[in-house]
């Protein structure tokens, strides 16, 4: 059915898909090989899992807009890219989990669907990011959009970065354990360290590629660092809630775990610009 003049476009698109497949595996393999992820997949609250899947879609659309694995011109294309990234992530996750015998045919569909759904989110994010990381040719338009990203766009990218990095460690027991081991003073110091680190990245790396940081020291501190850290903490709290880590835990402990996870979250927010 492919018309003759469509062959080249299809070939290019197939290349993009292959690149996305590689990206999905590269970005998701630490989580694919984390046992807490498989367990969470079947025992975590189903509604929270459904909400998480629904949160991921607009995130993929936004990421596709800034760094899609295909040149995108229109809103419809970004949505299509997000959906195809989901398909690629899904296939990559199923392939790897099957290879490693983490999903087998004698498991029930509930168990299999749970394991896959949770892991497809980081995999499809990886599929979307593959364009900016693996394919040398990033579209000039995406590049320009990235440079000219609005303030809201910058915050979106920080959120995506925070989610991705925090998500990589959030399922492990260690997050809870670290929070239990730390005193209130440790927690406070970690929060300050996260802020300083985030600011250092924002300040030296600069937002908008390698441009000068916009505005004075205090302006950047307030508009990017503080807000960025708040986003990292909110994302951390959301991920912890999704995984049921906040259930039946006192509010002080929740705050501590959130700050612990906020550390990689802040790192992700700071690095979002470098990765994209």
């Amino acid at each position: 059915m492919l018309r003759r003049h469509g062959i080249e476009e299809n070939r290019q698109y197939a290349l993009g898909l292959a690149r996305a497949f590689g990206g999905a595996i590269i970005f998701a393999f630490p989580l694919l090989m984390t046992m807490e992820m498989w367990w969470l997949g079947f025992y975590m609250d189903r509604l929270r899992l459904a909400i998480f899947l629904l949160t991921a879609l607009p995130l993929l659309v936004g990421l596709s807009y800034y760094a899609g694995f295909e040149d995108t011109f229109r809103w419809r294309d970004d949505l299509m890219d997000a959906l195809s990234a989901y398909a690629v992530g899904f296939i990559a996750v199923v392939a790897v989990l099957t290879l490693m015998s983490i999903i087998t045919l004698d498991q029930t569909w509930r168990e299999i669907v749970g394991k896959i759904t949770l892991l497809v989110v980081p995999a499809s994010m990886g599929a979307t990011l593959a364009r900016s990381q693996l394919g040398g040719a990033k579209s000039a338009e995406s590049e320009q959009r990235e440079r000219q990203a609005s303030y809201a766009g910058e915050l979106f990218l920080m959120m995506a970065g925070a989610l991705f990095v925090a998500f990589n460690v959030a399922p492990t027991e260690e997050m809870i354990l670290i929070a239990y081991m730390m005193t209130e003073w440790h927690t406070l110091a970690l929060a300050v360290a996260s802020l300083v680190m985030l600011h250092a990245f924002v300040y030296t790396v600069g937002f908008g590629g390698q441009e000068d940081y916009p505005g004075s020291f205090f302006s950047v501190l307030l508009r990017f660092t503080i807000v960025g850290y708040a986003i990292a903490l909110l994302v951390s709290l959301y991920v912890l809630w999704t995984f049921g880590r906040t259930d039946a835990i006192g509010i002080i402990e929740i705050a501590k775990i959130t700050i612990v996870l906020g550390f990689p979250g802040a790192l992700g927010a700071a690095l979002a610009r470098l990765v994209l």
């Binding site: 059915m1 492919l2 003049h5 469509g6 080249e8 476009e9 299809n10 290019q12 698109y13 197939a14 898909l17 367990w39 079947f42 025992y43 609250d45 189903r46 509604l47 899992l49 459904a50 899947l53 629904l54 879609l57 295909e70 040149d71 011109f73 294309d77 949505l79 299509m80 890219d81 997000a82 959906l83 195809s84 990234a85 989901y86 398909a87 690629v88 899904f90 004698d106 498991q107 029930t108 569909w109 509930r110 168990e111 669907v113 749970g114 896959i116 759904t117 497809v120």
Partner: protein
């Protein structure tokens, strides 16, 4: 790239004409449609699961084949969870009895038995379980 070097002016004009409006490759439609089907399908399954009755774990241990391994008797067991919640650290105990008297005990702990799912394991006995009455019981679990 090589296309541009072709002396085929007709083709050049054709390409230029289409340049502003990008044509969506058929493959893109296929990939996106597959993504949409997967999203809707997975979401449907999870929501079905979510609104399914959320009952307590119902654990039942059953004995499978018995084999002699290195001078000991291995009873393969399967634990089924018919309930709507997953169970962690599921302790299963096997007891060999004769006339109400306990001859031998063996137990194991399963990390997880997901809701509506199975987990497999085995218990070793020095006595032949076939010569006695074998009782299998899921004794305890933890909420994950």
């Amino acid at each position: 790239m090589s296309d541009r070097n072709l002396p085929d002016k007709h083709r050049d004009a054709h390409q230029k004409g289409r340049a502003p409006e990008k044509k969506t490759p058929a493959l893109e439609w296929i990939a996106s449609a597959l993504g949409l089907i997967l999203v809707v399908g997975v979401l449907g399954l999870i929501l079905y699961d979510a609104f399914d009755e959320d009952t307590l774990p119902q654990l039942k241990a059953q004995a499978g084949p018995i084999t002699l391994v290195n001078g000991r008797y291995l009873v393969q067991i399967i634990v089924r969870n018919h309930g709507g919640s997953s169970a962690a650290a599921v302790n299963v105990q096997g007891t060999l009895k004769r006339d109400g008297k306990t001859i031998e005990r063996s137990s194991t702990t399963f990390d997880y038995v997901p809701a509506h799912s199975n987990a497999k394991g085995g218990l070793f006995f020095t006595q032949d379980p076939r010569a006695y009455e074998l009782q299998l019981e899921a004794k305890a679990y933890m909420e994950p």
